[in-house]
Amino acid sequence: MSDILTIRGLRIEAPNGAVLVHGIDLDLKKGEVLGLIGESGAGKSTIGLAAMGWGRGGCRIAGGTVAIGGQEVTAESPAGRARLRGARIAYVAQSAAAAFNPALTIGRQVLEGPRHHRAMGKAEARAWMLELFRALDLPDPDHFGDRYPHQVSGGQLQRAMVAMAMSCRPDILVLDEPTTALDVTTQIEVLALLRRLIQRYGTAALYITHDLAVVAQIADRIQVLRHGKPVELGPTEQVLEAPREDYTRRLVGERQASLAGEPRRHEGGAELLAVDGISAAYHKVPVLSDVSLSLRRGETLAVVGESGSGKSTLARVITGLLQPTAGSVRLDGQALPASYTARGRDLLRRIQLVYQLPDVALNPRQTVGEAIGRPLGFYFGLKGREQKQEVGRLLGLIGLDPDFAGRLPGALSGGQKQRVCIARALAAKPDLMICDEVTSALDPLVAEEILRLLRRLQDELGVAYLFITHDLGVVRRLADRTAVMQRGRVVEQGPTEEIFTPPFHDYTGRLVASVPELRRDWLDQVLATRATA
């Protein structure tokens, strides 16, 4: 039969008894790529690992069957399952840096699988490894295996992990968010290489991700998951262009909006923030060079760039957490002291910072009411009943019930925590709110809600936003003006519409071209353009 992987009625339970996957059926044909799509908690990784007969963190397969090429994995003994792992089905993790043993060379680890499974002779395994290294475009393939994991770059290590997975010529690859941790520009390379590899060697694959546009480039069929239950299954084109289920439609809709959002157009007021020739360094390593920006009252300026562009460092300089080596920052024309310790209370009040990870941005021992109430008391002297009323009002503003005030952060979801962080910032009635990747750690649908909330708040309150992000879709939906940063410099800045309409500046063009679109043939097009360029 042509099905290489058959899953029937799979049920997976956590050690405390909670059900993570509620009975799912899955079929994978030889050489086919099936995308597993869903938000966090959907159970995609859990299913992928269960296909290998593995339960992470003590999870166990409580029911159902998994069969690889007819052989029932779930009926096998632990030793039997171990024989299949790596040999017939292999795993590519999200973070290569953590997945490699720092004490052994890369080559040693890549060859470990074939040696253990006795899949092929020593010379044959080594030749196969070199062929894989070459196919994955790794530098100096003949000697790459002699290096240690910490001696190579992140992108190279990710590709080495793919080589490690392919080392026994498995029938199935489980790819668990393989490109999520990479920059947009690197993502394209790895995606193209993966596709070429899979097609060349006829391997079937489960591609796990939350990014619809990415999975559209590589998957033949898509399975949408939610809270451990299947939502929709169909060929890629059908799921993207004509989704049947409501949830799928929302996912597709959010992605589309992010890619072609209606731009904002706000006429800002007087100039609020002026960044002038800022240079900064961490331990003598330059991170920012001669950065100048301008932000007007009530408008949103997005600062966009990849990792290492210095955008977060810029936020730290503006808030006074990092002292610049040159340049100045002015608020309403007044120069700001370089260190926040030298700024007065009212000055600190006017600029508020909202962080990327709401889990660590809130004190786990303080209730929501205390967290929001403190700025009210600290800056405005509000106490007792007055403070409680104002907290209630702010909670309503961000869309939460007043009784949330008594809850601890541990009882809140990621999106709710981020709303509380926003309320905490708003409590100070700031002129400027700096949002440092505030939606990057959230699921796409939740992130969309937060963005809508931020837009509404700006319309109502007239707060200016300095929005730091790497996501172009967010920029298009939220920002009046945009600054593009690369390696510590501002490459381009101006109204968002202008920046994102051709003709593009070199780097901006590359960035825009690297964002996957919701079309199956997008990757092919990009590769074709590159080949002719």
Binding site: L49, M52, W54, R56, A79, A82, R83, L84, R85, G86, A87, A90, Y91, A93, S95, A98, A99, F100, N101, P102, A103, L104, E112, G113, H116, H117, Y148, H150, Q151, M164
Partner: protein
């Protein structure tokens, strides 16, 4: 990596010097007149002055320190006040006795403890793990004198397997020496093994929970190979730190055990010296113990550096 090791050795030498300063300051500079403490309240002023002169107490502290350190480095540890003999003659034989006892305990104890720590970590949550953990918790909480008393009761009095007092003398046969020192060794062992085992277990568990160990399992490797090739090489450095940490205990535990078994080692010697306020003896003993502690810690740190995979192969 070599520069790191050299740095550590340099730090070790500096620490040794610091210890000498601390020991000297502690014995010579603390308030309280040394002379009247030795001679008692009823001593005549002339006797006090004579003693002070013979001890060189009138000279400035820095000079005294220099003299003492210089003498120490050359092997002259001063004269015992109580017995008028050179301290060195009294100290070194007892030092070797203590080293014998500590080595006896370490040679058996460290491999046993580390082995148990690894086994319980690999079989986490199982019956073996829980049983060993309870035993370890119990032993860690028991003071040496309790364990020692029980051992004497069971293995020396009720069933005369070993002698109840650890009498050793020069020229003793090796087997005889082992027989005499086994009970004190067991006492030392029981407590140190428990400590080292618990901390090794924690270190190995941390490594077992890492992503690369999961990757090894996902490649189809079996537990034995995963532990040997992936977990242990990365746990080696933390385990070195664990052993180093417990060395401090071994050095001080020896003192109590020696007192209890009347073993003629440096620990009991130092306790007697303190009781008799024999200043030069206390100084010398403190210096030797302190130096041993510093040197052993330095060796363990260097081993940890040498075993750290990231440091052996830099970018």
């Amino acid at each position: 990596m070599i520069p790191l090791i050299l740095k550590r050795i340099g730090l070790g030498l500096f620490t040794l010097w610091l210890v000498s300063v601390l020991v000297f300051a502690g014995t010579q500079l603390l308030p309280g007149d040394v002379a009247s403490a030795i001679l008692g309240q009823s001593a005549t002023p002339e006797a006090l002055a004579a003693l002070r002169h013979s001890l060189g107490l009138e000279q400035p502290a820095l000079v005294r320190y220099g003299q003492w350190l210089w003498g120490f480095v050359q092997g002259d540890l001063g004269q015992s006040l109580a017995s008028q003999q050179p301290v060195a003659d009294l100290l070194w034989p007892r030092f070797w006795n203590t080293m014998f006892l500590a080595a006896y305990a370490a040679v058996i104890g460290v491999p046993l403890a580390v082995g148990l720590g690894i086994l319980t970590a690999v079989r986490r949550g199982g019956v073996f793990d829980r049983a060993v953990n309870i035993l370890a918790l119990g032993t860690v909480s028991l003071p040496e004198y309790f364990l020692g008393l029980v051992l004497i009761l069971v293995l020396a009095v009720q069933n005369p397997v070993f002698p109840s007092l650890a009498d050793v003398y020069p020229g003793m046969g090796f087997a005889e020496r082992l027989d005499a020192t086994t009970l004190p060794m067991l006492t030392l062992l029981l407590v140190t093994v428990a400590q080292i085992m618990r901390m090794t277990r924690t270190a190995v568990l941390a490594v077992m929970d890492s992503a690369y160990v999961e990757t090894a399992y996902l490649k189809g490797l079996l537990t034995g190979r995963v532990v040997l090739r992936h977990a242990l090489p990365n746990a080696a450095a933390p385990v070195c730190n664990v052993v180093a940490f417990n060395i401090a205990y071994l050095i001080t535990g020896v003192v109590l055990v020696e007192a209890m078994f009347n073993y003629n080692g440096l620990g009991r010697f130092m306790v007697d010296a303190v009781a008799k306020r024999d200043l030069p003896m206390v100084q010398a003993c403190a210096m030797v113990f302190g130096a041993a502690y510093v040197i052993l810690n330095m060796i363990a740190d260097i081993a940890a550096i040498a075993l750290n995979p990231r440091l052996r192969h830099p970018r």
